[in-house]
């Protein structure tokens, strides 16, 4: 078809040549088709007619190419019609020839209008020979093209303008079926049949009304055995002889299989037969004895919070949710947010499902496994079995009296050997004397300075008190005893000062109290070179030791003899910062506690006998057992260490009972009790039996925690001391009170 249209564009002569070419091609095509039809089809209905058609067609095309006359046209038309009515398969074949015929007709009868009547093709109208060009090109010319004879085709006389068009639209009843032919510039009114044809085509139907689209199919290749063969051709010779080529190929393959180059096709055994009873004969495999195999731990089972409809308490509150979102995913206790759905159909897919499975996989093959021994201990079994405190009575249990009157923190307290009087020294610069049973303040002595330490003379036959304040040590005679005692203490104080002692005495000066001081009871003043922190009496009551902690000098400890008003410095060398000192109750030993250790000196032999290692950072206080074989040390790092001197130089027991620094420790003189006071405001009383049997270790049982002191300025209880005869304990605190627990 394209060939023909391109031919139209050229001159008629050229067109003729083209026609010839076309004819030939048509011939060829028709012949081929014939053959095909012979081979494939056997039109049992009308083979003869077909042949006729073919003949006529070929004839027709031959003639039409040569002759230009329109005389044959009638016959041709008839032929055309025949073809259309005949088998549909021939349509394709017939068309080329038909086109040629039309061209002929147009050559002869350009002005005939009824050509549409028999025009069955959808071929272009070719009265105008300009071809398939945009017609605007002829816009400025009076003609719109040329007919087959080369004459101009003139435009219709008057072109319609918009108004005409509109009027036409309004008035002409046939306007809707009028079509403007651009090629000829004429309007064509479509007939009813044509309109219907257009409608049918629009609907996608065949143009021909009578055409049956669904003709019954004739099955000529059926399962039935036919009487005659389809073709009558005798079989080829090659169909009787084995193929050499194939033989060669097969032998090659056989050889390859033989040599193992090609493996035979494996059959797929993916059926049920794949599985069998693997554990039919159960035996311990290599693996079992090969290594210590740890089976993977199972995934923990879900709790209530994972439910799709959990109880309301398991859902997150807003704060919990916010917290959850803030947390790092690895820190989260629960890896998902619990949610509640009112019914099962609303539950969506869990978005992290595959992730979780994958993580499990990773755990299985990437995580080292370890057997963790889980301690399954009943915590109560860990608590040591101790004798009941009830059986260890008596010990102080309740706070019974509070001694108020001081205005500063009470640093030191001391009880008279008779147990009737209590002396206390405070930062407010006063020393007060209390009657123990009535909590009445009997006497107040203003000493004019913060009292660091206070100690009652342990000798019951004298009534003296040593007070350390600043760089002085005062000896007070409180006059709280009967006449005999007073006179004996006077006697002790009246001893005359000896001549200058050779060593160290130069730094210490003794002087008597004068004037007002005498009225207050201050009898002796011992001036030290530095601040005195502690004073301690010997059990006999004649000797007095004072401590002046100082790193740089060896003048840290002085031992004074009151009766002879003599002082001496027992140590030549500085062995560390001295914290406190103490006399042995019976033997001539002297305990010196430095920062980390306690040294014991034999005063007679003048040598060190023992050095106790307190495993603490800074010793604060020390007390010696009345038997003299045991020492307790309190330290600022909250510990209390009990030393058994017969056992070792290391503490026999470390007690970490307190939460804060231990400030004071004390032994009871008669009862097996000791106590420690600490900055956490508590006094802990422990039972500490010491056996005379050397093989038996001391029994230490805490029996009571006494509270009552108020913590002020981070200081709690500063000093603690027992009543000499009763199981009572006094404690002085930073809250300016002294308390008695009975």
């Amino acid at each position: 078809m394209e060939e023909s249209s391109s031919g139209n564009m050229r001159s008629s002569e050229q067109g003729e040549e083209m026609k010839k070419v076309q004819e030939k091609s048509v011939k060829k095509r028709s012949k081929e088709e014939e053959e095909e039809q012979e081979q494939i089809f056997s039109f049992s209905s009308k083979p003869a007619e077909e042949e006729d058609e073919d003949l006529s067609d070929s004839e027709d095309s031959v003639y039409s190419g040569l002759e230009d006359s329109g005389s044959d046209s009638e016959d041709d038309e008839e032929n055309d019609e025949q073809e259309v009515e005949g088998s549909d398969d021939d349509d394709l074949k017939a068309e080329p020839g038909q086109n040629l015929q039309e061209e002929e007709k147009k050559g002869g009868e350009t002005d005939r209008l009824d050509e549409y009547e028999y025009d069955s093709s959808d071929e272009e109208d070719i009265r105008n020979t300009v071809g398939n060009i945009p017609m605007e090109w002829y816009k400025d010319f009076p003609h719109i093209g040329y007919d087959l004879d080369g004459k101009k085709i003139c435009k219709p006389i008057r072109n319609k303008d918009e108004l005409d068009d509109f009027l036409d639209k309004m008035e002409n009843p046939d306007y809707w079926r009028t079509v403007h032919d651009k090629q000829t510039g004429s309007d064509i009114v479509l007939s009813d049949e044509q309109v219907e044809l257009v409608n049918r085509l629009q609907r996608g139907q065949f143009g021909d009304v009578n055409f049956n689209e669904y003709q019954p199919q004739v099955e000529f290749f059926s399962s039935d055995l036919m009487l005659h063969p389809v073709t009558n051709r005798p079989a080829d010779k090659r169909s009787f002889i084995p193929s050499l080529l194939e033989k060669e190929k097969v032998s090659k393959l056989v050889h390859a299989i033989k040599m193992g180059w090609i493996k035979p096709r494996r059959q797929n055994d993916d059926g049920g037969g794949r599985y069998y009873d693997l554990w039919a004969s159960e035996d311990s495999s290599i693996l079992a004895n090969h290594r210590m195999h740890l089976p993977a731990p199972k995934i923990p089972l879900p709790g209530h919070h994972e439910s799709y409809n959990p109880p309301p308490e398991y859902l997150f509150t807003d704060e919990e949710r916010a917290l959850w979102e803030q947390q790092d995913p690895s820190d989260r206790k629960c890896p998902f947010v619990p949610r509640k759905f009112s019914s099962l159909r609303q539950v969506p897919a869990f978005p992290r499902f595959i992730h979780e499975r994958f993580e499990r996989c990773l755990d299985l093959y990437l995580c080292p496994r370890q057997r963790k021994m889980r301690v399954n201990v009943n915590p109560d079994d860990l608590i040591p079995k101790l004798p009941k405190p009830k059986d260890l009575q008596p010990f102080p249990t309740t706070q019974s009296l509070v001694y108020r009157g001081h205005s500063g923190l009470v640093r030191s307290i001391s009880v008279s050997p008779s147990g009737q009087w209590l002396a206390s020294g405070s930062d407010d610069g006063s020393v007060r004397f209390w009657e123990v049973r009535s909590s009445r303040c009997m006497k107040t002595v203003e000493v004019g300075g913060a009292v660091k330490s206070i100690a009652w003379n342990p000798n019951p036959s004298v009534c003296l008190l040593a007070v350390a304040l600043g760089s002085r040590v005062l000896i007070l005679s409180p006059a709280l005893a009967d006449r005999q005692v007073l006179s004996s203490s006077e006697k002790l104080l009246s001893g005359q000062q000896e001549a200058e002692s050779p060593e160290g005495a130069g730094s210490v000066t003794w002087s008597e109290g004068e004037g007002e001081e005498l009225n207050q009871g201050i009898r002796l003043k011992i001036q030290h070179p530095k601040d005195v922190h502690q004073v301690v009496w010997h059990a006999k009551g004649d000797y007095l030791a004072s401590v002046m902690p100082d790193h740089s000098s060896h003048l840290q400890v002085f031992i004074h003899q009151v009766s002879r008003r003599r002082s001496q410095n027992p140590f030549r060398k500085n062995k560390g910062l001295v914290q406190c000192v103490s006399f042995h109750p019976v033997r001539p030993y002297f305990f010196v506690a430095t920062q980390r250790s306690v040294r014991i000196y034999n005063l007679v032999k003048q040598e060190m006998t023992k050095k106790l290692q307190a495993n603490s950072k800074w010793i604060s206080s020390m007390a010696v057992h009345p038997g003299g074989d045991h020492v307790i040390c309190g330290s600022y790092d909250c510990r209390l260490s009990w030393f058994d001197l017969d056992l070792s130089t290391k503490p026999y027991k470390m007690l970490r009972h307190h939460k804060k620094a231990v400030r004071g420790v004390a032994y009871h003189r008669l009862y097996p009790l000791f106590a420690s006071a600490s900055d956490d405001g508590s006094v802990i009383v422990c039972h500490g039996t010491v056996y005379s049997d050397l093989l038996q270790n001391p029994l230490i049982v805490p029996v009571k925690v006494l509270r009552g002191h108020v913590i002020t300025h981070d200081l709690g209880v500063l000093d603690v001391t027992f009543h000499p005869t009763q199981p009572w304990i006094f404690s002085s605190g930073a809250d300016a009170t002294i308390r008695l627990f009975t």
Binding site: G272, E282, L301, G303, P311, R357, C361, L366, P384, R707
Partner: protein, 582 residues
């Protein structure tokens, strides 16, 4: 000094371990292959006690394997198969490059494959070992069976997983081994007791997965390869232990019934049988068609004392289990189309119920909606148009809750449109001191056979009495907790009392008789005793004790928190109710 100097790292722990890279080189495998081998053989890294020693003085982070393990891998025949596969890939590439498509086809057909049978046998020397480890394989297979048949893994794997899981479910039904079910937000947990081993698996909800990008599917596929093999063998053995035919076949009678229906609607011919199996609606063929399994009666042995008690307890338990197995016997269920069919059908059939569904939902429905003998109709929509009088319309949670409670719960709480009671996890076993949700207490009361009637009446009246009861319970709990953490609290109280007593002496003019509770006093005394004894503990023991007590206290704190939350919630609910009334 004489003698050779000992070289470092030539003895001791340094020689017992091998780093991953060295192991890989020793085995001559690429990293993916090494990983695959480790997964299949169950080799995992080890954390040496002294890392620096093993690491030859360096502290770099390395993964260590036991040298013995790696030596063990050396003899693995699968390593050879991995190499074969490498060669195969090379050949295939070459054939493609030369466009020799016939060769490609041939190579494809002879693609080297390996079997994991011997590995399974090696890793699980006895059947019980395999059962103990079946959890993960079940989870994985259930996950893979829900994958779409595109992309992420081979279609055959998915089909195989599906087949194996269906077989497993059919086995659980046949053996009535299911014990607990739990609907969580992740999926549905099932727990079955198979040959004395508790097996728990998680089935995701039937939705398409949105495949994450940060997951290595090759690892998962390797695991699945192993797990499908394991599950296949386990299924085989389990089926044979129950005298069932493996691969499973439907009962001939049932099969013939099914055939009447037009199968083409549901599945391709090749798949229809699996589909029918997965409908879970029919029993399986047995090798010997016995009428009923014989009840394994416990023989009576002459026993004394404690043994007798134990024996009785065991018998009682067994009886209970028997009752549980027949929980839904005689009930006829019908599943509406919006409920999860497979899960419900599985659970109901596991406890002897009959179940059916709409014909258009799935193959294998046995009766219609119109069947008059249906007792329970499971619905998960707010209301339903056409209701039959002689059946209960209940929500699916009822089935699961009944299974967990081991009794048929009252249906009233589960009717259509009713707010469901919370669904509790059956896996939580509360010890004393743990928080127990009130719903659990209710269920426990039901299990003991107590009638909930009173409570319900009270509910109807006001709902206050019950709440009071709850509060009482809570108080009791609190008291328990106090006992637990007695030391500190008691001491505090003591101190408070003391301080109060002191202040009273000062402030109050009229003297009051101090009522002393002797029991309380004694308690306090004991508490103090304990506290003092704790002071005397050794450092090491104290540390341990503190740790244990910390854990306990935390537990108590959490329980208290939950209780408080619950109380607040209940109060809020009550208020709301009151407001609504007004």
């Amino acid at each position: 000094m004489g003698g050779l100097q000992k070289k470092k790292f030539e003895r001791g722990s340094a020689t017992n371990y091998i780093t991953r890279n060295k192991a890989r080189k020793k085995l001559q495998l690429s990293l993916p292959d090494f990983r695959r081998l480790c997964i299949l053989k169950g080799i995992y890294p080890h954390e040496p006690k002294h890392k620096k020693k093993v690491n030859k003085g360096s502290t770099a982070a390395r993964t260590f394997y036991l040298l013995k393990d790696i030596r063990f891998l050396l003899h693995e025949p699968i390593v050879g198969k991995f190499r074969d596969y490498k060669v195969f890939v090379r050949k295939l590439k070459k054939a493609y490059g030369k466009t020799e498509y016939s060769d490609v086809e041939r190579l494809r057909e002879n693609k080297p494959t390996y079997k994991l049978d011997h590995i399974i046998k090696e890793r699980y020397p006895s059947f019980i070992d395999a059962l103990r480890d079946i959890d993960d394989s079940l989870c994985m297979c259930f996950l893979f069976s829900t994958f779409a048949r595109t992309g992420k893994c081979h279609v055959q794997t998915i089909q195989l997983c599906r087949r194996l899981t269906v077989e497993w479910m059919n086995f659980v039904i046949a053996s009535r081994a299911l014990k607990k079910v739990f609907i969580s937000i992740k999926g549905i947990y099932y727990q079955a007791e198979v040959m004395g081993q508790l097996t728990t698996w998680l089935v995701p909800y039937q939705f398409s997965h949105d495949h994450p990008t940060d997951v290595d599917y090759r690892v998962m596929a390797t695991f699945t390869e192993l797990y499908t093999t394991l599950l296949g063998f386990v299924n085989f053995r389990l089926y044979h232990s129950l005298n069932l035919v493996y691969p499973p076949k439907l009962d001939s009678k049932a099969a013939s019934e099914l055939k009447e229906e037009d199968e083409d609607d549901y599945a391709m011919n090749s798949e229809s049988y699996l589909e029918k199996l997965s409908a879970l609606s029919d029993s399986l063929t047995r090798v010997f068609s016995t009428a009923e399994e014989e009840e394994a009666e416990l023989d009576q042995f002459p026993v004394e004392g404690e043994d007798l008690e134990k024996m009785e307890a065991r018998e009682k338990e067994q009886r209970q289990q028997e009752v549980q197995k027949k929980l839904f016997e005689g009930l006829k269920f019908f599943l509406n189309r919006e409920v999860p069919r497979e899960s419900l059908a599985f659970v109901i059939r596991c406890f002897g119920g009959e179940v059916s569904w709409d014909k258009s939902v799935c193959i294998g429905s046995t009766y219609e909606v119109t069947d008059e003998t249906i007792t329970h109709h499971i619905v998960d929509r707010p209301n339903i148009d056409k209701q039959y009088i002689n059946r209960y319309y209940i929500q699916p949670q009822w089935v699961y809750d009944c299974v967990n409670a081991k009794v048929r719960l009252p249906v009233e709480d589960y009717f259509i449109g009713v707010t469901l009671p919370p669904h509790l996890s059956p896996f939580v076993e509360e010890k004393d001191g743990d928080y127990v949700p009130p719903e659990k207490l209710k269920i426990m009361a039901l299990q003991r056979g107590e009638k909930p009637a009173q409570e319900e009446e009270e509910d109807d009246e006001e709902g206050e009495d019950e709440e009071e009861g709850d509060e009482d319970e809570e108080e009791e709990e609190e008291e328990d907790e106090e006992e637990e953490g007695a030391e500190e609290k008691n001491l505090k109280k003591l101190e408070e009392q003391k301080s109060q007593g002191k202040s009273l002496q000062v402030k109050v003019t009229a003297g009051k008789v101090k009522t002393e509770n002797p029991a309380r006093l004694e308690q306090e005394e004991k508490a103090e005793e304990k506290r003092l004894a704790i002071m005397m503990m050794k450092k090491k023991e104290k540390y341990l004790y503190d740790k244990i007590m910390f854990g306990k206290k935390r537990k108590i704190r959490e329980a208290n928190k939950l209780a408080a939350k619950r109380k607040a919630h209940d109060d809020a609910e009550k208020l709301k109710k009151k407001k609504a009334k007004k």
